[in-house]
C-alpha cells in the first residue's frame, strides 16, 4: 500500500470531470516508482494484453483509425463517390435516403449508412469525419503534451519563486471559464476557410488542455529531482536543460502516457461540443461532432443522420476510455501489489 500524500488543496480545484478522475488516479504515483529497466514496459504490455476490455478498446481504435484513413478511398474505388460528392445532376438523388435504400425505396448496398440532406453517402462522411475527429484529438493532445510537459518540468525543476509564479499562473488560467471564452472567440471570429477554422480549433482547445498535464509533470519532477541519479548528473556538470529533458522527463512517462490516452477522448468530446454549437469544424470538412449536429436537426424525420455518426463517435470514445483505463491499470504500481 503506497502512502497517501496529503492532497494540496490547490491540486484539487478547477478540474474538469475527466481530469478529476485522471488526477485522483494518478496522485498516488508521485513516488516515482517506475524508474526501472525496460522490463517495466514489457510487464505493462503483458498486463495490458491480459485486460480483455483494453484489448477490445485497442482493437476498435485501430479498426476505426484504419478504416477512417483508407475507407473514403476504398468507397471511391468501389462505388465511385467521394465523401463530398453531391449528385447535383439529379434532384431525385439529392435527398436523404435511409440506410440500405435506393432512390426508389428498393434495397441497395450503395449507402449502408444512408445519405445526408444533399445525397452524400453517410458512410463515407462518417469515415472522413473520423479522420478529422481523430486528427483534432491527437494533434491537440500533442500540443497540450509539449506545452504541459515543458512547463511542468521547468516549474518543478527550477522550483522556488519561479515555481510559485508559474503555478499561480496555471491556477488563474484554470479558473477562467474557458469554454465560455472559446465560445465568445469562435462565435465572433470564424475563419472563412475550413483549414483556418481547424487551426483556430487547435489553438482554442490545445491552449487550455495543457494545464493538468503541467501539474502532473511538475508533481513528478518535484519528487524526482532530489534522487540520486539527478544529483549525480548535476555533480558531473550536466546542463539544466539536459537534466530536465533527458533525465527527468523520460521518468515521468508513465503518468504522462496514461493522461494522454485519457485526454484524447476528452478533446474529441470538446471538439464535438463546439461543432454541435456550430463553432467547430466547418463544411465541406466534417467531424463526428459536426455530422451529429447536422443529424440532430433532422431526427424527427431522418434519424439515421444522427445515429450513425453518434454511435461511431460514442463507440470510439468508449474504446479509447477503456484503453486508457487499461493502460493505467497496466502502469499503476499499486495494481501490481494487489
Amino acid at each position: 500500500m503506497a502512502t497517501e500524500k496529503k492532497p494540496e488543496p490547490d491540486d484539487l480545484i478547477h478540474i474538469g470531470p475527466e481530469m478529476a478522475v485522471a488526477e485522483a488516479d494518478l496522485r498516488s504515483e508521485e513516488t516515482g516508482a517506475f524508474i526501472h529497466g525496460t522490463s517495466l514496459w514489457r510487464d505493462a504490455w503483458r498486463r495490458l494484453l491480459k485486460n480483455k476490455l483494453a484489448v477490445f478498446g485497442l482493437v476498435v481504435v485501430v479498426i476505426v483509425t484504419i478504416s477512417s484513413i483508407v475507407g473514403p478511398t476504398l468507397i471511391q474505388r468501389i462505388f465511385g463517390f467521394t465523401p463530398d460528392y453531391i449528385p447535383s445532376h439529379d434532384p431525385a438523388l439529392t435527398k436523404s435516403f435511409p440506410p440500405f435504400t435506393g432512390p426508389n425505396n428498393e434495397f441497395s448496398w450503395a449507402h449502408p449508412f444512408g445519405t445526408d440532406n444533399a445525397g452524400r453517402d453517410q458512410l463515407a462522411r462518417v469515415l472522413q469525419g473520423g479522420q478529422i475527429s481523430l486528427f483534432v484529438g491527437i494533434l491537440s493532445t500533442l500540443v497540450s503534451l509539449v506545452i504541459g510537459v515543458s512547463y511542468g518540468a521547468i516549474a518543478g525543476y527550477v522550483g522556488g519563486r519561479v515555481d510559485n509564479v508559474m503555478m499561480r499562473i496555471v491556477d488563474v488560467l484554470y479558473s477562467l471559464p474557458y469554454v465560455i471564452i472559446v465560445i465568445v472567440l469562435l462565435s465572433m471570429f470564424r475563419s472563412q476557410t475550413p483549414r483556418g477554422q481547424l487551426i483556430l480549433l487547435f489553438i482554442a482547445i490545445g491552449s487550455v488542455s495543457w494545464l493538468t498535464m503541467a501539474r502532473i509533470v511538475r508533481g513528478q519532477v518535484l519528487s524526482l529531482k532530489n534522487q540520486e541519479f539527478v544529483l549525480a548528473a548535476r555533480a558531473t556538470g550536466v546542463s539544466n536543460s539536459r537534466i530536465i529533458f533527458r533525465h527527468l522527463v523520460p521518468n515521468t512517462l508513465g503518468p504522462v502516457i496514461v493522461y494522454t490516452t485519457l485526454t484524447i477522448p476528452q478533446i474529441m468530446l470538446t471538439e464535438a461540443f463546439l461543432s454541435f454549437l456550430g463553432f467547430g469544424v466547418q463544411a465541406p470538412l466534417a467531424s463526428w461532432g459536426s455530422l451529429a449536429a447536422d443529424g440532430i436537426q433532422n431526427i424527427a424525420i431522418f434519424p439515421w443522420q444522427l445515429i450513425f455518426p453518434g454511435v461511431t463517435m460514442a463507440l470510439t470514445l468508449f474504446s479509447l476510455n477503456f484503453l486508457g483505463d487499461g493502460l493505467r491499470d497496466a502502469l499503476d504500481p499499486q495494481m501490481r501489489t494487489v
Partner: protein, 308 residues
Amino acid sequence: MFRFIVRRLLVTIPTILVVISITWVLIKLAPGNFYSGEKPLPAAIEKSIREKYGLDKPWYHQYGKTMWGIVGHLDFGTSLRFQGQSVNTIIKRSLPVSATVGILAYLLALIVGITVGSIAALKQNSKWDYGSMALAMLGISVPNFVLGPILILIFSLGLYWLPPSRWGGFPSRSLILPVITLSAIYMAYIARLTRAGMLEVLRSDYIRTARAKGLSERDVLIRHALRGGLMPVISYTGPALAFLLTGTVVIERIFALPGLGNYFIQASLNRDEPLIIGIVAFIAMTLLFMNLLVDIAYAFLDPRVRYQ
C-alpha cells in the same frame, strides 16, 4: 484556513476583471453589430441607434463605463438585443432555470452514482460490477448532445410520452428528459469514483480495525467506508458543478430552455455586449466561488487534511 480564504479572494477579483476585459476586447474586435439584419438600415437610422446606445463614444469611454458599472454597482447595464431589459434581470430570471436542471441532474447523479458505485465495489468482480462499470463508461463516452436527441426520438417523437422541449416550470414532466440527459455523464463519473474510493477504503487499516472492534458490517460500511470512500466524489463536486454550467449550455440548446446557457449563446451570436459580459462575469464568479467552497469543505471533511 482564514488566510487561505483571504488569499484566494485576493486572486479572484483581478481574475474576474481580466476575464471581463478579455471578453470586452473580443467583442470590440468582432465584426458586425447587434442591430444588423438581412435588410441593411439607412445610414441615418444606424447613426441614431449607435447614439442611443453610446456606441459613438471613444473606446476608453465605453470601456470605462462598462467597468465602472460592474465594479461600482455590480450593474452590467441593459441588454442591446432585448430592449429595456437589464442584464441583471435576465440573469436573475434565467439562473433558476439553469440551476433547477443542474441541481436536479447532480442530485440524480449522486443518488444513482453512489448507489451503483457502492454496489459495484462491494460486489467487486461480479457481473454487477462489470455491467455497471461498462454502463458507466458508456455514460462517459456518449456525448450529451447525442444522448438528448436520442431520448427525444424515443420518448417524445416515437412514443409521445414526454414533451420534446420547452421549459415547463418545476416540477413538470418536461424536466425529465433534460435532467436525465445532463446527469448521465456525472452519474457515470460518480459511480466510478465511488467504486474506486470504496475499494481503496475497504482495503485500508482503519476499516480492518473497525471490523476487528466488532462493529456490525452495516455500521462499518455506512459510518466508515462510505464516508472515506466518498472523498473523491466530494473533491469532484466543485469542478462538476462548474462544468454543469457548460453542460447546461448544450441541454438548454437541445431542449430550448430559457436558461443562462441559451442566453449566452444567443448573446454571443447577436453581439449583445452587456449581456455577454454579464454572463461571462457571472459564470467566472460562480466558478471561483464554487471552487473555494469545495476546498473548504474538503479541509473539514478529510481527516488527513484536518489532522495535519
